[in-house]
């Protein structure tokens, strides 16, 4: 069995246009490993959404991707405001994104639902005022 490989990225909270860079890099490395295009796409879409969330709500954070022979785990950890009501946040269309962000086309309230849709498992741990950790798994 191969040892798991871990990729780490700092997600810069100041810059919208660079949001998504980590998912592009991950996509590249997964391609090099030979992960199937469908799995890469799931990981990439879910991670991109998560990165954007960290930039909008938490001023960035840490992204870790762990590749194992049968699954990929994405851990997104921030020290932002936290999510008060996770069930509400998971509803499609619910968003607390500020107006300036919406004007850029973000904040449609589809981020978390999409992350769940594109992954096989998603766990959110959050504490108001402390931060949020989202752990997503894609099996293959």
């Amino acid at each position: 069995m191969s040892e798991p490989i871990r990729f780490h990225f700092d997600v810069d909270g100041d810059n919208f246009s660079s949001a998504g860079e980590a998912s592009v890099q991950v996509k590249r490395m997964l391609r090099q490993i030979g992960i199937s295009p469908d799995v890469i796409r799931k990981v990439s879409v879910a991670m991109y959404e998560g990165e954007i969330n960290m930039v909008i709500h938490a001023n960035g954070g840490d992204a870790d991707v762990i590749v194992e022979p049968n699954k990929i785990t994405i851990v997104l950890k921030d020290v932002g405001p936290g999510i008060a009501d996770i069930n509400l946040a998971m509803q499609e269309g619910y968003s607390t994104a500020p107006e300036n962000v919406r004007s850029l086309g973000f904040g449609a309230g589809m981020g978390l639902p999409n992350m769940k849709r594109y992954t096989d498992d998603m766990k959110i741990e959050s504490e108001v005022g402390v931060g949020t950790t989202v752990t997503m798994t894609v099996l293959f």
């Binding site: 069995m1 391609r31 295009p37």
Partner: protein
């Protein structure tokens, strides 16, 4: 893939081994080895960025000299729309058409004319409901090859219609054979007047079809001076051009997309920008778009490495040239609004070729990836290029693939020398 015939090559005696091309190559296909640049044929997409950026003009594109075709009984010129933007004070395309005839061609068939027909069929294709959207233009061969190597998920989104250059060659040959039934296939030669090396590669290794109807490619820069002097002899050219502003607009970025009369499109130019757009499309970040036009060169085809004029000046000239042209001079008969004739459709779908994959065995690939990570951590992350690779990351990959040695990193080498020095000093002190 090994029989792929590239058009970009190196004139080794001119290469100084600097890293300008290494740094600019969008697929990280170039390394400096033994003092000169080496192109990885598997990765090269013939975009011509290295030709544009080589300060020593050591990178060249293989294209033909006009003399090569003088044996043919009947020579057809297929001028790219970008050619029309290369001349100062040109206000009538007929000068270019007549000039090409003066250069020794027997017939001229404008690629812009074929482009207008392709635009009509693309509109039909977009009306279909059973296709993957957004549809991505396949007219720029660099983009089509890039997608086949890096964007497996987008292969199905490529417009599966032959490019204007191909249609132009086919139609021109049919026209000529109807007019001159005495000519045999081998008597006729269709020569594309090209703005870029990627079109040279396209003709040798066509995309989506078995064999191209284009027989040869001469670059715009190769024919330019002969053409200018030929054009000067012409006073009142015959009315021969058969293109409207739609066809001419294909020369610049956004022209192909605008011709679809559908505002749900995006057009981007410059290879780095195109890669960014493709990454975003792959993540489904542009909802509601119908068509994506991507041109590897800045400004579109007018920015090709084998043109003469600055792309933005060429584009400005085309605006003036277009002013008095009808919208389009070529139309298809209205039948089924979603019809695209079978002869226009690719019969060989584009397949993903995973050239970036480290190993066909995934557990070995994972092992190599782990090694790359470890070696990458040893490097200074300055991407200085002194090792001959574009980035520290790319060099770590080279080392793992046995194409380099860590001591080629000058920072690691410096450390080693320091250690040796220290050792010697200690030994001397004893």
């Amino acid at each position: 893939m090994s029989n792929f015939k590239h058009s970009v090559f190196l004139q080794q005696e001119k290469c100084k081994g600097c890293t300008n091309c290494v740094k600019r190559c969008p697929t990280e296909a170039i390394r400096i080895q033994n003092g000169h640049s080496v192109i990885d044929e598997e990765r090269c997409i013939d975009c011509g960025e290295c030709i544009k950026h080589c300060p020593y003009k050591a990178k060249k594109a293989l294209s033909d000299k006009l003399e090569k075709y003088k044996e043919y009984k009947y020579k057809i010129a297929l001028p790219a729309p970008a050619l029309y933007g290369q001349f100062d004070n040109l206000d009538d395309i007929d000068f270019v058409v007549s000039g090409l005839l003066e250069c020794g061609f027997d017939h001229v068939f404008e690629v812009a004319k074929a482009a207008e027909i392709i635009s009509e069929y693309t509109r039909n294709y977009l009306r279909r409901t059973d296709i993957a959207k957004p549809v991505i233009s396949s007219a720029c061969p660099v983009i089509a090859r890039l997608i086949s190597k890096r964007f497996p998920y987008l292969c199905d989104n490529l417009l599966p219609i032959i490019p204007p250059i191909e249609l132009a060659a086919k139609m021109a040959k049919e026209e000529v054979k109807a007019k001159h039934p005495e000519l045999k296939d081998e008597d006729i030669c269709a020569i594309f007047i090209s703005p870029c090396p990627a079109k040279v590669s396209y003709v040798r290794n066509p995309i989506g079809i078995e064999k191209s109807a284009v027989d040869g490619v001469v670059s715009i820069s190769e024919i330019y001076f002969l053409l200018v002097s030929s054009m000067k002899k012409i006073v009142n050219p015959e009315i021969q051009s058969q293109t409207g502003l739609v066809g001419v607009s294909w020369a610049g970025s956004g022209g192909e997309a605008a011709a679809l009369f559908n505002d749900k499109y995006l057009s981007a130019d410059g290879i780095e920008n195109c890669i960014k757009v493709l990454d975003e499309i792959e993540n489904e970040n542009f909802a509601g778009l119908e068509f994506i036009e991507l041109n590897a060169c800045s400004g579109g085809c007018v920015g090709g490495a084998l043109t003469v004029e600055n792309p933005y000046i060429a584009k400005a000239r085309l605006q003036i040239l277009r002013r008095y042209l009808p919208v389009s001079q070529n139309h298809i008969e209205r039948t089924d609004p979603t019809e695209v004739p079978k002869s226009y459709i690719w019969d060989q779908p584009i397949e993903y070729s995973p050239v970036m994959q480290l190993d066909s065995d995934m557990s070995l690939a994972m092992k190599k990836m782990a090694d790359i990570q470890a070696i990458y951590e040893m490097f200074p992350h300055l991407d200085c290029g002194a090792c001959g690779a574009p980035t520290c990351r790319a060099f770590a990959e080279d080392v793992v693939k046995n194409n380099g040695d860590v001591s080629d990193c000058i920072f690691i080498m410096r450390e080693k020398i320091r250690e040796l020095y220290k050792e010697r000093e200690e030994n001397d002190g004893k």
